[in-house]
């Protein structure tokens, strides 16, 4: 073993973001989309996840290149029962999973193990001969 690294995930890859939202059973819309909030207020976004009600959750690309989550969380939690913390954590985990797979495959690794542990941690072992 050589070293350990801990990385805080930042969402930058739109394809992996869409795959993560799909895993979490959200239906997404892209393009000129709006995040809806209280009393018809809205804000522009690049991607939205529909919640089947008046509120939705949006994603907007920040100048630094990562996607920010935009939502009227009070409304989302009241009407759809989704808390910001749970949504963001679940999304980050699914996003990181797809991003890891996509990056290691590009570099010629094969996936030797892929499992979800009892505490819901995802464990992957990737391998390469050189």
């Amino acid at each position: 073993m050589s070293h350990f690294t801990k990385v805080q995930t930042k969402i930058t890859d739109l394809d992996c973001l869409k795959q993560a939202l799909e895993d979490l059973q959200y239906i997404c819309r892209e393009g000129e989309v709006r995040v809806r909030g209280w009393r018809g207020q809205w804000s522009q976004a690049d991607l939205v996840a529909d919640l089947g009600g008046p509120y939705n959750i949006g994603f907007r690309k920040a100048v630094q290149g990562h996607y920010e989550v935009v939502a009227d969380w009070w409304g989302v939690e009241m009407r759809a029962g989704i808390s910001q913390a749970k949504f963001v954590n679940d999304l980050n985990q699914r996003y990181a999973y797809h991003k890891v797979l996509s990056e290691v495959r590009k570099r010629g690794f094969s996936v030797a193990e892929d499992e979800t542990l009892e505490d819901n941690t995802i464990r992957l072992v990737v391998r390469k001969w050189s």
Binding site: M1, S2, H3, K6, Q8, T9, K10, Q93, A96, V126
Partner: protein, 68 residues
């Protein structure tokens, strides 16, 4: 010689990613997983383990001591 190189990757419930590199000695191992760290986000912690210090080539180490 063909070497098997592995990474063990754990993704926590909040999306924090722990990467362990195996089978890569010395400073090369830092580069080995760098692409993944950069693609994912920001490295918040890094810990070197014993294999890191098994340097592939002899290295001269100079120790400098200062006294006040």
């Amino acid at each position: 010689m063909v070497l098997k190189r592995e990474m063990e990757i754990e993704i926590d419930r909040d999306g924090k990613v722990n990467i362990k590199v195996k089978g890569v000695q010395g400073a090369d191992c830092l580069e080995f997983s760098q692409f993944l760290e950069e693609a994912l986000g920001e490295t918040v912690e890094q810990e070197l383990t014993s294999e890191y210090y098994q340097l592939p080539t002899p290295t001269e180490i100079t120790v400098q001591q200062t006294r006040q």
